[in-house]
């Protein structure tokens, strides 16, 4: 039973220690708000106006649900961590209650009631803030999908609200149980003397710290080198080693940081013996035994947050930037007829009856698709398609022009340009051949300038950004290439995309005069670029291709992939939205968690430090000097994990850029910078809050 006495004490305690509860309160408030906002994104009512994009939002909903489990774990950890700090701080108070004759069950009731009060207030406040957040997200979503919110739409998601309340109620329950256990387990004598128990001073020799610090920097440097040199495309032992080393280096860095700083400043005697500098450094050094682990965790977590946000949003921007280039046609249909294998050479794809059908149509895709449409009984092909161009990517199996020959002609390898992204034995792969007339028809269909070739010359066309420089340099060399016994000089490079696709995938094909196409070529794949009669026709053509692709009817064309422009746009926008939202969601919670952990740790120290500051005050230390010392101390705790995390992130993002270069040039972009900046604002706000609270605590003794 909770009596009026319990309630009165609990309310009084919460009011009295608002400052102690401040960080706790704000953390829960933000946690609730973000949790609600992201879980309400996918609420159907609010986003109905998005129309066709709904499918992507459903997917986003599923992903956010999954990620939320991870977020719940982080938030639960945070609440319990913060609670433990508050309980520890108040041991003496609890001891007094027990001395006055209260039972342990009374004390537990009081703390449970306090948790309930703080929880209820922050939950309510957080939901209100969350509704504002979600409203902002609604407009952001609309902007991303390039639609407008019709009029004023107020989005309140009952489902998300219920979920938020349920999740946080469960977290508070767990926290209250953990508190009860702490109180049940503690003896009165320990509670009464909680104050006098000081952290055991563990002292480490300073030269050792210096050595450890240098070692940690070397380890981090090695891990950076391993990562940059080897990239992260494939899970290589180097990548695993880099991951382990960067973690070890980070922990060691913080383990030795305070000792190193102390040593360094001690060398500069005038600096060391100025104001409270030596006090501040000793302060840092005295707590580092307990703080280094949390600083390391915070650093790694911040690193993950920064990398996921910048990398995620960067990838989105890249996808969106390349989209005009890769949507030149209303639709593209691709059929793969053969593969090339290092051991066996050219192998025709096993297309069965469909392959026979294609052969019977002499590989004419337009003809084949048209007849397939008739077979399936859909709308006539000619009513949907107003124009089409077929491109046949061939390889000369009798000739021996390989990618390795191109490397040789240039004197450098593709690996020099694209790093570890390229497969090991690419060198033996034959170079694709395209006939000039097909390429020019395709370029014209997309409204682009055709390629004109002089006598005895050829061009190379590749749409992958990663290889553009390779081919540019190659063309500069004017290499003479032997195709079908004829020698052609490579004089031109084009980076046009010859199809509508979600990512540029043509890593290079030679465009040669039609008459130069050797007799001995084999068909690798064919593309049919299509202009549709109307927007509706585009949709219907997409449906038709889907039907042809999945049918078992033997007399139909084999389709490997077909994409319409609308499908590509929706996929890209949807994908980038999902990536961006996840990056922001995870990033925000991680940054908040880091900042809260640092804040709570600093404040728990501030109470120990109160005695020290009161002594400094008695000795006549000017107040600004004390404030500066406190500021420096907290700033070091907040800044060093951040600085190292940024260093890690820069290194990781350099590597990520290499990987993303497959899809196009990675553009970290304004949005990522805005997000990173807003995270810094949250981090900075926690820093300021910590500083002000710590100042207050230091003054209270």
């Amino acid at each position: 039973m909770i009596g009026p006495m319990h309630a009165k004490l609990a309310f009084g305690n919460v009011r009295k220690s608002l400052r102690d509860f401040g960080v706790y309160f704000i953390t829960i408030l933000l946690g609730v708000a973000v949790f609600y906002a992201f879980n309400s994104i996918t609420d159907q009512e609010a986003i109905e106006f998005l129309g066709t994009a709904n499918k992507m939002m459903e997917l986003l909903g599923i992903v956010i649900n999954g990620v939320s489990v991870f977020i719940i774990v982080i938030l639960a950890f945070l609440v319990i961590y913060a609670d433990r700090f508050l309980i520890r701080r108040r041991k003496k108070e609890f001891g007094m209650y027990l001395c006055l004759g209260m039972r342990q069950s009374d004390v537990i009731r009081i703390t449970a009631l306090e948790t309930l009060i703080v929880g209820a207030v922050s939950l309510a406040g957080g939901l209100l803030l969350g509704i504002l957040f979600s409203q902002a997200l609604l407009y952001l979503t609309a902007a991303l999908f390039a639609t407008e919110v019709p009029g004023f739409t107020f989005g309140f998601s009952t489902g998300a609200a219920i979920k938020t309340v349920a999740v946080f109620a469960a977290i508070f329950l767990v926290a209250a149980l953990a508190n009860s256990r702490t109180i049940m387990k503690s003896k009165l004598i320990d509670l009464m003397h909680a104050d006098s128990k000081n952290e055991e001073m563990k002292l480490r020799s300073l030269p050792l710290s210096l050595v450890l610090f240098i070692v940690s920097c070397i380890i981090i440097g090695i891990s950076y080198m391993l990562l940059v040199d080897n990239g992260l495309l494939e899970p290589s032992p180097e990548f695993a080693a880099a991951t382990v080393l960067v973690c070890v280096g980070t922990v060691l860095f913080f383990y030795s940081l305070s000792g190193f700083l102390l040593r360094l400043v001690q060398l500069a005697r005038p600096l060391y013996l100025r104001g409270l500098n030596m006090f501040t450094l000793r302060q840092l050094n005295s707590k580092i035994n307990t703080a280094f682990l949390s600083m390391s965790v915070v650093c790694i977590t911040l690193f993950l947050a920064i990398t996921s946000v910048c990398g995620g949003i960067g990838i989105c921007n890249t996808l969106m930037a390349g989209i005009e280039k890769t949507t030149g046609y209303d639709a593209s249909v691709r059929t793969v007829f053969g593969n090339y294998n290092a051991e066996t050479g050219y192998v025709p794809a096993d297309l069965g009856e469909f392959g026979a059908f294609a052969a019977s149509k002499d590989y004419d895709m337009a003809q084949g698709l048209s007849e397939s449409a008739a077979t399936l009984g859909g709308k006539p092909y000619d009513e949907l398609v107003s124009e089409s161009v077929q491109l046949d990517f061939m390889v000369d199996t009798a000739g021996n022009l390989t990618m390795g020959d191109l490397d040789e002609a240039l004197g450098k390898t593709i690996k020099d340009y694209a790093g570890g992204v390229v497969s090991e034995n690419y060198g033996i792969y034959p170079v694709y051949l395209l006939s000039l007339s097909q390429v020019n028809d395709a370029l014209q269909l997309a409204g682009k300038d055709p390629i004109s070739l002089d006598d005895k010359t050829c061009a190379v066309i590749a749409d992958s950004d990663m290889l553009a420089d390779y081919y540019r340099d190659l063309v500069e060399k004017r290499p003479s290439l032997t195709i079908g016994g004829e020698s052609l000089v490579l004089t031109q490079f084009s980076d046009q995309c010859l199809e509508t696709t979600s990512a540029p995938m043509n890593t290079g094909a030679l465009v040669i005069p039609d008459e130069a196409m050797p007799e001995t070529v084999e068909r690798m794949y064919s593309l049919l670029d299509v202009r549709c009669a109307s927007v509706d026709a585009e949709q219907q053509f997409g449906d038709l291709c889907g039907a042809i692709e999945s049918t078992t009817e033997p007399d139909t064309w084999p389709i490997t992939v077909s994409l319409t422009r609308t499908m590509v746009l929706e996929q890209s926008v949807g994908l980038s939205t999902i990536i961006a939202y996840l990056a922001v969601y995870i990033g925000f919670v991680l940054v908040m968690a880091c900042a809260a952990i640092l804040a709570i740790q600093q404040l728990s120290e501030a109470s120990d430090n109160a005695r020290r500051y009161s002594l400094l005050r008695k000795l006549g230390t000017p107040e600004p000097m004390i404030s500066r010392a406190l500021f420096a101390q907290i700033a070091i705790y907040f800044a060093f994990p951040l600085v190292l995390a940024i260093a890690h992130s820069v290194c990781a993002l350099i590597v990520v850029t290499d990987v993303v270069a497959v899809f196009g040039h990675l553009d970290i972009g304004q949005m990522a910078i805005v997000c990173a900046a807003s995270f810094l604002v949250v981090y900075g706000a926690y820093f300021l809050l910590t500083y002000l609270s710590a100042k207050q605590l230091a003054r209270s003794a």
Binding site: L273, R282, R612
Partner: protein, 260 residues
């Protein structure tokens, strides 16, 4: 013109729980106390528990402010100073030795002593020699590199004494400095105080222990917030002075017994 001492306490009163409506509820901790301390003196303040001696010291130390009266140190009325001026004043003119040595546990003995100088922005080059000189005087040179937890209680108090004196304050204030020490360590500390006094330092010490008080040159007795009397050591030796002190303290205690 009246004679001015280094420390001049004039008619100070201190009332706790001051409340205009409920005059009766407040406590008068100090009631019109006045005395002088000359430069170079070594004065003890004695009195039973609750007599107001610690309140008096706190007022002189500018940690507390009297309700009425004035306290002047070096001709400066400290009751007129604002918070900022007070901290500067404490830093520049006063030295403190507390009952529990109150050294910063994170700093070495050297650093604890140097702290009194660094907060005064004394040049780094000067700090080193001044700390070592005062450590030499108080025979704690070999403890300078150690942390407080590595020191005995007596060593800690001597480090605290070194910290109090290294800044050449006008007045050193000590609040029950031997309270937590065994008799041997207490004697060592008091010898250090004697030495500092002989070198020209002015000391004011609150104590309830007659042995400790017998090291002083003069004792001011406080009872129930009022000045009860004074005792000069003159040319008496310490044992004789101790006898007189014990006699008076038992009289003060006796008065209290009568009152009950």
């Amino acid at each position: 013109m009246a004679h001015h001492g280094l420390l001049e306490v004039s008619n100070i009163s201190k009332r706790y729980g001051t409340n205009a409506k409920r005059e009766g509820s407040s406590t008068l901790a100090l009631d019109d106390v006045s005395f002088l301390v000359e430069a170079g003196e070594y004065v003890g303040i004695m009195g039973p528990s609750g007599s107001g001696k610690s309140t008096l010291l706190n007022c002189i130390a500018t940690i507390d402010t009297p309700t009425a009266g004035r306290i002047s140190i070096d001709g400066q009325d400290v009751t007129k100073l604002n918070a900022k001026e007070l901290s500067t004043f404490r830093r520049d003119r006063l030295g403190f030795v507390f009952q529990d040595s109150n050294l910063l546990d994170t700093l070495t003995a050297f650093e604890n002593i140097a702290l009194a100088l660094t907060i005064k922005k004394v040049a780094a080059g000067e700090i080193d020699s001044r700390v070592r000189a005062v450590a030499e005087q108080l025979s704690i040179s070999d403890t300078l590199g150690k942390y407080p937890y590595q020191l005995s209680g007596g060593q800690k108090q001597r480090v605290a004494a070194a910290r109090a004196t290294v800044g050449h304050p006008s007045l050193i204030l000590a609040d029950e400095p031997t309270g937590a020490l065994d008799s041997k360590s207490a004697a060592q500390l008091l010898d250090s105080f004697d030495l500092l006094n002989s070198l020209g330092a002015t000391l004011l010490m609150v104590t309830h222990d007659p042995v400790t008080a017998s090291y002083c040159g003069r004792i001011v007795f406080i009872k129930d917030g009022k000045l009860w009397g004074q005792l000069q050591r003159g040319h008496k030796d310490r044992t004789a002075f101790f006898g007189e002190i014990v006699a008076i303290t038992s009289r003060i205690g006796g008065d209290r017994a009568d009152a009950c």
